[in-house]
């Protein structure tokens, strides 16, 4: 039973930390509201654009490269899902796992080379 308590308590701690992490900004900002002045003017509330009048909406189409990097991240990050359990259990798995993972990582590497050659990794 204690094992299970420990298991639950561990996540209770996580929840406590989450609460703290949220509470601190909330409390601090609420407290600050009583201390700080609040005199909004139109100039103050204008978006900053290096001194000129802001034009257009800021939410323009931005470079597709950002998306492509996001895609690459998703692929590579998720593939590590396989690497972690493998690394943890490596002692028990032995050479077979090594060879399997070698194939896996070589495939991953080919993916990287592919992206490289297709100039996806180029910025600008």
């Amino acid at each position: 039973m204690t094992d299970f308590f420990q298991y639950q308590n561990n996540y209770l701690i996580v929840v406590a930390f989450l609460l703290l992490g949220i509470l601190l900004p909330v409390v601090a900002l609420t407290a600050g509201r009583f201390l700080r002045p609040n005199k909004p003017t139109i100039e103050k509330q204008t978006t900053y654009e290096s001194g000129i009048e802001p034009f257009h909406d800021a939410r323009v189409r931005f470079n597709v490269r950002y998306y492509i990097f996001a895609l690459m991240f998703v692929i590579f990050d998720v593939e590590t899902v396989f690497l972690y359990p493998w690394a943890v259990a490596y002692d028990k798995l032995g050479i077979f796992a090594l060879i399997e993972m070698l194939i896996f990582v070589v495939m991953l590497l080919i993916g990287l080379i592919y992206a490289w050659k297709k100039k996806v990794l180029k910025w600008s």
Binding site: M1, F4, V64, Y67, I68, A70, L71, V74, I75, D77, V78, E79, V81, F82, P85
Partner: protein, 104 residues
């Protein structure tokens, strides 16, 4: 050892699945549709993990399955987004119902 019964997980998963399915079938924005599909897949993952701990015959295979399904889902979404980008370049829309140039 458990004080959260299996059925709670199952109902959660089923609810998630239904929300996902509903969203996937009704939403217009492709990104949201993809997210809804993700939701459905993760509902299945919850099932796998729950069964692997509390099922009739608890074993690790369910978790392994969910690992595979997570990574495959990622690949699927990546492809979905890539295709969406290609479509957006040509059509400037991400709405499903505007994608209909092939009605006989």
């Amino acid at each position: 050892m458990s004080n959260i019964p299996l059925s709670v997980y199952l109902v959660t998963a089923l609810a998630l699945f239904c929300i996902g399915l509903f969203g996937a079938l009704t939403k217009r924005n492709v990104v949201i549709v993809l997210i809804c599909i993700e939701l459905m897949l993760n509902a299945a993952n919850i099932n796998f993990v729950a069964f692997s701990k509390y099922g009739v015959n608890p074993n690790i295979t369910g978790q392994v399955f969910s690992l595979f399904s997570i990574s495959i889902a990622a690949a699927e979404v990546a492809i979905g987004l890539a295709i969406l980008i290609a479509l957006y370049r040509n059509r400037s829309t991400v709405n499903v119902d505007e994608v209909n140039s092939m009605k006989h």
